[in-house]
């Protein structure tokens, strides 16, 4: 039976699902309820010198009827007195000794202030420390948060100060608001950090009220750039986690953060090297209860794949990410439309014409299927768009609008009521000109029907060759 129990940077975890340092971990009462719901750990909302927060604080963007695709906040670190937070940490650890409590810290850049804060947190009995070098709003204006995380030297220095004092594992949380995230990661590692977490939130403006012209979130008519998170940021977070984990000078145990809300999200971060994952927006959206399926679903997947522990699959996808120059130029796929599944929406057709390479046509009824396939690799043979002179989408549309149709009457029109609605008319099923198809995937991405458009491998008869190899070969020929 697979298990979710794991050890992260020396910290024993009941499961890899932690709540990130954020509003869901604001106080002990919340965190204990979260542990009851099944969370394995919680990174306490960052403590430091007490702050005053503004009202309002959050904003989000919805997409196609789904709420909170992306979420943004301008809330600062904890606005509760540090001693209250520390007292509650001790209480939580006393009541939930097997659950992980991490203290997230952010104080002014003075060695003795950091030493004192580390001491107080560890005295409270926490399992580890996380340095908040990522917060992009407000605190950075005071020389903290991402103001530290964006400068590798500061990052290294403060990590060093903390390590002088800390007895528990130290996690450094990285900001994505930087050109190359590997630089602060390397700095943290040089200074002795035990682990990393990534990513913190991304600088953002989520939107502007088109009536008042005021950006959101609105604080007395004004706004400030906030930290972006939620499902929308996951691809960015995955990319940054991979960059760090593929860099031998930066890689450390990684706690993955960024848009995680499901077991699939968690598995993806783990396949790129994360040992635990941290969640915030999804819990803010749906509550602590989401962790149940994250665990249930991940275990079921592990069972299907034959993995016993998280370490069995952690990082397995890292070797599959490489620089573009090391991709095989002689690998080729082309789109195949499975006519039996096609519902005739023709989204692939318009997407291919306007957004890709003009190689999907609506000509099954007029000889399109009989057109010879040249068998050449089109990327080199023909650089001409629409070489067969097929009708453009505008021409197709104009023809349709001119067609005269009348309401069918059951008695008079044999093919009347609903007779064709279950079967896609052949003329509405697009055809791929496989000779011209470059294998870009776009049609299969826009198709609303699962498995209707598949990308099929075509044998090119050529040996694998990367761009790097091609350049090297060309140079050796020259030499």
């Amino acid at each position: 039976m697979p298990t979710l129990e794991t050890t992260f940077a020396g910290i024993k975890c009941l499961n890899p699902f932690w709540l990130a340092s954020a509003p869901p971990t604001n106080c002990g009462e919340q965190i204990m309820r979260a542990f009851d719901a099944g969370w394995g750990g919680a990174v306490w909302k960052t403590i430091g010198e007490q702050v005053t927060n503004v009202s309002s604080r959050y904003s989000s963007i919805d997409w196609n009827g789904q709420k909170m695709m992306g979420f943004n906040n301008i809330e600062l670190i904890s606005d509760r007195p540090p001693e209250v937070n520390l007292r509650e940490m001790a209480e939580v650890k006393r009541r939930y000794p097997k659950h992980v409590v991490i203290a997230s810290l952010m104080v002014e850049s003075k060695r003795e202030v950091w030493h004192e804060m580390v001491q107080r947190a560890e005295d409270a009995g926490v399992d580890g420390l996380e340095l908040n070098f990522g917060c992009p709003h407000g605190m950075s204006e005071r020389g903290m948060g991402s103001a530290v995380g964006q400068v590798p030297e500061y990052c290294e220095q403060i990590t060093g100060w903390v390590k002088e004092k800390a007895r528990t594992p130290l996690i450094v949380k990285l900001t994505p608001n930087i050109a190359d995230i590997r630089m602060p990661a390397r700095a943290a590692r040089r200074a002795g950090a035990d682990a990393l977490s990534a990513i913190n939130t991304i600088n953002s403006i989520t939107g502007i009220d088109l009536d008042t012209l005021e950006p959101r979130p609105n604080v007395d008519g004004k706004s400030s750039h906030g930290g972006y998170c939620g499902p929308a940021v996951k691809p960015i977070a995955l990319s940054m986690v991979q960059q760090v984990m593929s860099d031998p000078m930066a890689a450390l145990p990684m706690s993955g953060i960024g848009g995680i809300g499901s077991w699939q999200d968690a598995a993806e971060f783990m396949l790129l090297g994360a040992g635990t994952v941290q969640v915030c927006t999804a819990a803010m959206h749906y509550g602590y209860r989401i962790v149940e399926d994250m665990g249930d679903g991940l275990l079921a997947w592990m069972r299907r794949k034959g993995y016993e522990t998280i370490d069995d699959f952690r990082g397995l996808s890292l070797p599959n990410m490489r620089d573009w120059k090391h991709l095989n130029l002689n690998f080729r796929v082309v789109a195949e439309i499975h006519a039996d599944k096609c519902i005739g929406c023709q989204l692939c057709y318009t997407a291919c014409w306007d957004g890709a390479h003009q190689c999907i046509h609506l000509d099954r009824m007029d000889g399109g299927m009989e057109q010879p396939v040249m068998g050449t690799d089109p990327r080199y043979a023909q650089h001409e768009p629409n070489p067969q002179g097929k009708p453009t989408p505008a021409m197709v549309f104009a023809q349709s609008v001119k067609t005269i149709v009348t309401t069918p009457i059951p008695k008079l029109d044999l093919d009347g009521e609903g007779s064709n609605s279950m079967l896609t008319p052949l003329e509405r099923i697009p055809r791929v000109d496989v000779d011209e198809c470059v294998g870009c995937n776009l049609c299969s991405l826009v198709c609303p029907v699962p498995e209707c458009i598949t990308m099929e491998r075509v044998e090119t008869g050529l040996c694998p060759e990367t761009w790097a190899e091609r350049v090297a070969n060309a140079e050796s020929v020259k030499a």
């Binding site: 519902i343 005739g344 989408p393 309401t407 008695k411 609605s421 279950m422």
Partner: protein
């Protein structure tokens, strides 16, 4: 330009009728509309658009609902169909746009296109904004339109947008034809039809009501106008041709429906028989139930599989509690002064499909009201008398005016036609499509003539 009309205020709707004929398909609330709009896949060259006789760009107007651009949504609908509001309620969407929706093949419910269209049109009406079109620059040309139903209205709108004067002649006191007087109130209330015509009239359409056009009047109009559009629909409902038909208590579906819609008829006796099994017969039968009849029978000479009503209309009637008598035909209307019963003979199909009487006793169905809905006759003979004096006769076929489908032009170039008088009786949306093509056709023909004159001069 004529002054703003206010037909809407002339709708004599009784509160009781309104309550008995509540919306069959209630309006969508805003959140529901947006949620439904977001479900639309935004097909390219969408089948729903192809299935609509007026080719409303359905995905386009639905996307605009989703984006909150309701003005643009209504304009998209009206561009293609000036009676988009009444069509959204009256269209048999199951066999048109919604029937063609690709969602049928996606194991999902089709998009509720009709209700979304109504949502966009209701929003325009609620905004108080004018029609999003203006009349074209005056060409000085004048067109007479015979009949004020959907075909003429659609034709008039196209003409006005192209700067041609449009003058409608209608026999009734209010415009709209069957759109106003003939559609079940739970689908399209009379007042809603009038509201839509008030908007259309903003383009400067002239109306002459209670004006019968006969051969003499038509000849007069032909002489004084640059072109004539024939959109007078069909004629009276066929007679049964049996004894007792003239008794009190025998009426026809069109008068019956117009009667309750206009407020003249508020209740019916307890036993009603509707003869026929088309969509109009169903409308009449359902109306009888809602107006208080205890027992409503539909009487049809063939079986359910041959009825000309849509399947969903048949289902609706069953749900309303209408009973069906198949394979019978009235042979006599029984009664002294008032109808008391219908004598029905049984029929069966011969091998060639024709109906022959079946052995056995006749059925006596006790009724207080008989509503005939066995099809309308044509009403176009008078036009063959006109047109003689110019470019030849207007050709008819089985009483229907023959037109060029693309332009609506008849065999006499000065006459155009569309709607039921050309197709034998179809849907509102078919009449609108005909009227639209004819409006464009007339404007093109007038412009070509003008150019020809200039060239000659």
């Amino acid at each position: 330009m004529s002054e703003a009309t206010n037909f809407f205020s002339k709708a004599g709707v009784s509160a009781e009728v309104a309550a008995r004929f509540a919306d069959l398909h209630p309006p969508l609330e805003k959140t529901a509309a947006v949620t439904e709009a977001l479900r639309c896949l935004y097909c390219f060259d969408a089948p729903c658009m192809g299935a609509c006789p007026t080719h409303i760009d359905v995905p386009k107007f639905i996307k605009k609902i989703a984006s909150g651009n309701l003005e643009g949504s209504a304009k998209t609908i009206l561009e293609a169909n000036i009676l988009g509001a009444s069509c959204s309620r009256a269209c048999p969407v199951q066999v048109l746009c919604e029937g063609a929706c690709v969602m049928h093949r996606y194991n999902k419910q089709p998009i509720e296109i009709g209700r979304l269209q109504r949502f966009a049109m209701d929003a325009l009406h609620a905004s108080g904004d004018p029609l999003p079109f203006t009349p074209g620059a005056d060409t000085g040309k004048r067109v007479a339109l015979i009949g004020g139903g959907p075909a003429s209205l659609a034709c008039a709108a196209e003409l006005r947008r192209r700067g041609v004067h449009a003058v409608i002649f209608d026999a009734r006191p209010l415009p709209g034809g069957l759109n106003t007087y003939g559609i079940a109130e739970y689908k399209l209330p009379l007042a809603e039809s009038l509201r839509e015509i008030d908007m259309l009239a903003q383009l400067g359409v002239e109306f002459h009501f209670e004006t019968m056009v006969d051969a003499a009047k038509l000849a007069e109009l032909e002489a004084s106008y640059d072109a004539v559009f024939l959109g007078m629909g069909l004629g009276a409902i066929h007679k049964l041709g049996v004894t007792g038909e003239e008794l009190e208590g025998v009426t026809n579906a069109l008068d019956f429906i117009a009667g309750y819609k206009s407020g003249a008829l508020k209740e019916v006796p307890s036993r009603v028989a509707v003869i026929g099994a088309g969509n109009t017969a169903i409308d009449a039968a359902n109306a009888a139930v809602r107006l208080g009849a205890k027992e409503v029978h539909m009487v049809y000479r063939r079986g359910s599989e041959q009825m000309s009503a849509f399947g969903f209309e048949y289902e609706h009637a069953r749900q309303e509690g209408v009973r069906f008598l198949w394979h019978v035909t009235p042979v006599k209307v029984v009664g002294e002064k008032k109808v008391t019963a219908l004598e029905l003979a049984r029929l069966e199909s011969a091998e060639d499909g024709s109906l022959v009487p079946k052995e056995g006793p006749h059925i006596l169905l006790e009724v207080d009201l008989v509503v005939l809905a066995i099809g309308q006759g044509t009403h176009a003979e008078f036009v063959s008398a006109a047109g003689n004096n110019s470019a030849g006769k207007i050709r008819l076929e089985r009483g229907r005016i023959v037109i060029d489908r693309e332009t609506g032009q008849t065999s006499n170039t000065k006459f155009f036609a569309g709607g039921d008088c050309t197709n034998g009786g179809r849907e509102v949306v078919d009449a609108v499509a005909d009227g639209k093509r004819a409006g464009i056709g007339i404007a093109v023909w007038l412009a070509a003539k003008l150019e020809g004159n200039h060239a000659n001069a």
